[in-house]
């Protein structure tokens, strides 16, 4: 690797005392001090010249590894050579920067010291050579800030284009659900006998009157007397919502006061029915209530029923 020597630093001036005498010079040669990016390798070459008889104490050299949170020492090699009458030590250092810079700025690689030892009969003499810190510039990889806009609203992304939706499936679904709901409501109303399904109270007496009129027109009304009585019985059962016997007439008239006027004739009807079905026979019944009277009673009951 070719290294351009851009800077030359003589540290010997700042060294004083006995160390200054034994360390003749410290020279740091670095490549260009700018134009570095995240992850770049930074090479440095350091020449140390010391008095003869001194040799390097290897443990004092910096150890490859992380130096700070943004700087690693990747590699270090040391070569010793004789430089005139002095000893020269050349250190090749390879750093790597991990500084994620947001702008261009100067970073400082810290200095360190290297220890040399001279051993004689009188004992060991050590001397420290101080390598000064030096700095270089790092630059960001890319522009950090977005380009400047006059209107701050331009920083926002435009809204996505939404095409006009098709409402037909939704409308169809709504209509279908509504008709299903109406259908269910109709079923419920039918089950609960709500309004349109409320069972109209039939007109049992009207039906009975019609049936009796039909029977009356037949050639022999006496023959159909039993059927006529039965028709009126069924009408009374339906109106009273139970099977009415002769003894129940009083109760029926108090719960259905509309028919109260017909009380005496209804009593005659029950008496005639008793005699016809359970007693001597239809002849006995006819004596109590004739077919014409029966038909008239049924008509009057039907009329009373309409006013109810």
């Amino acid at each position: 690797m070719r290294i351009r020597f851009l800077a030359l630093l003589l540290a010997g001036l700042v060294l004083s005392g006995p160390a200054g005498a034994q360390v003749r010079s410290v020279e740091v040669r670095t490549p260009r001090p700018f134009g570095y990016f995240l992850g770049d390798l930074v090479q440095a070459e350091i020449d140390l010249v010391v008095e003869p008889g001194f040799r390097l104490q290897a443990a004092s050299l910096p150890k490859p590894g992380a130096l700070t949170y943004w700087l690693d020492l990747r590699d270090l090699d040391a070569t010793a050579s004789v430089h005139g009458d002095a000893q020269r030590l050349r250190l090749g250092l390879t750093y790597q920067t991990f500084y994620a810079a947001l702008d261009a700025r100067a970073l400082e690689i810290p200095g360190f010291s290297v220890t040399f030892v001279s051993e004689s009969d009188h004992g060991a003499t050590t001397v420290k050579a101080e390598v000064p810190a030096w700095s270089f510039n790092v630059s960001p990889l890319r522009e950090v800030q977005p380009p400047r806009r006059d209107d701050p609203r331009d920083y926002m992304r435009p809204d996505g284009q939404v095409g006009p939706g098709d409402p037909r499936p939704l409308l169809l679904g709504a209509a279908g659900s509504a008709s299903l709901a109406l259908l269910a409501l109709a079923g419920l109303a039918r089950d609960r006998t709500w309004w349109p399904f409320r069972a109209r109270r039939g007109r049992p007496f009207g039906r009975a009157a019609r049936r009796i009129r039909v029977l009356e027109r037949r050639p022999d009304p006496v023959l159909h007397y039993r059927d006529a009585l039965l028709a009126l019985h069924h009408a009374l059962d339906t109106a009273g919502e139970r099977r009415l016997l002769a003894d129940d007439l009083g109760d029926f008239l108090t719960t259905h006061p509309v028919y109260a006027d017909e009380g005496p004739d209804l009593a005659r009807f029950f008496e005639a029915s008793r005699r016809t079905f359970f007693g001597p026979g239809p002849e006995a019944g006819l004596g109590v209530l004739g077919p014409a009277d029966l038909a008239a009673l049924a008509r009057r009951l039907a009329r009373a029923e309409r006013t109810a």
């Binding site: 099977r243 016997l245 002769a246 003894d247 359970f278 001597p280 002849e283 006995a284």
Partner: protein, 344 residues
């Protein structure tokens, strides 16, 4: 035209008046129980045994004593107890004055053939052995004792039972219950005037004096079986009423199929059985007597309805799960049967 004059009608009319006097006599001693008295009269003329059921102190015993007094004839009375044995009814054993044991006829045999009313108090306190003896007495009106057979042609058994207590009691077997013509429930009268009289009138406090004050023998007890037979023959049942009774029977045994629905009950699994043909025959017998008492010589549905609960309800066996609620279910079921089955 309605009442054809036939031979024997005059006798029936006379007896109807006697029955009215009988009801009036008993009614003078027992207030507010007109329906029970009417049912007892029907049972008397239908020659059926009666079981009275009711709370303590509503007048079960008084009513039966009054009936026994008004009917005349011999009357025996026993109290059911848990240690009673059949022989206690038949034999009376004791040590005579000379120190030797004697065996003499017991309460049932003492009046033998003349016995018209046998009154069994607290029948459910007696053991099933006693019920078995009673079964024969009621069904056949005979008893074997002292190596011969005793006959009781006029006998009617009246029993009463306290429905509140259940401890140390024995439920009547179904066969014995079926032999009773009626089970009449007796309630305390509701009428305020009647209640006041019962509580404050000293006449009702001394039962013995009250019963002794009644006219004895309003009815000729010896003639009762004959007149009962005459009633059964004299009262007509038209084909319509026959069909009606059959319809009632069917509806009572199979209420679900007849379209009867009662709230909270599974109609298909309500009635287990019962309502025997004998029971329905009893029903018609009682209904005929009722028709006669009402002055008709033919039956109407009201006659059947008037006696139906008392004659039929205790013959129906409900599924065990409903049996405990029988007292609440049966009146509803009977009413529903009459509201469902078409009369003519």
């Amino acid at each position: 035209m309605m009442n054809q004059i036939r031979s024997g009608d005059a006798m029936l009319t006379d007896w109807r008046e006697a029955a009215g006097r009988f009801e009036a006599t008993v009614g003078a001693a027992v207030l507010g129980q007109a329906r029970a008295i009417r049912l007892l009269t029907i049972a008397l003329f239908a020659r059926g045994h009666v079981l009275l059921e009711g709370d303590v102190g509503v007048g079960k015993t008084t009513l039966l004593r009054a009936v026994a007094r008004a009917v005349g004839g011999a009357y025996a009375r026993v109290e059911g107890t848990v240690d009673m044995m059949p022989t206690d009814l038949v034999y009376h054993t004791y040590l005579a004055e000379d120190g030797r044991p004697r065996v003499e006829p017991g309460p049932v045999l003492r009046r033998s053939e003349d016995l018209s009313i046998f009154f069994f108090n607290e029948i459910n306190r007696a053991r099933p052995q006693v019920h078995a003896l009673l079964l024969r007495l009621m069904a056949e009106r005979t008893l074997t004792a002292f190596n011969r057979e005793y006959r009781f042609p006029n006998l009617q058994v009246f029993a009463d039972r306290n429905r509140v207590e259940r401890e140390e009691t024995f439920e009547l077997p179904a066969a014995a219950r079926d032999r009773f013509l009626m089970e009449i429930g007796l309630e305390a009268p509701r009428d305020a005037e009647v209640r006041r009289a019962l509580i404050f009138d000293p006449r009702f406090h001394d039962t013995d004096a009250l019963i002794a004050g009644l006219d004895g023998g309003v009815l000729d007890h010896a003639a009762l079986p004959g007149i009962a037979a005459a009633i059964q023959h004299g009262i007509q049942a038209s084909p319509a009423i026959e069909a009606y009774v059959i319809g009632l029977w069917e509806a009572l045994v199979r209420p679900g199929a007849a379209g009867i629905r009662l709230p909270g009950l599974d109609m298909e699994a309500l009635v287990q059985g019962g309502a025997s043909p004998r029971g329905v025959a009893f029903l018609v017998r009682a209904a005929r007597v009722r028709a006669w008492l009402e002055g008709r010589d033919w039956m109407v549905p009201e006659d059947v309805r008037a006696v139906f609960p008392e004659v039929m309800a205790h013959r129906v066996f409900l599924e065990p799960v409903y049996e405990l609620r029988r007292a609440a279910i049966m009146p509803d079921l009977c009413r529903a049967v009459f509201e469902t089955v078409a009369a003519p």
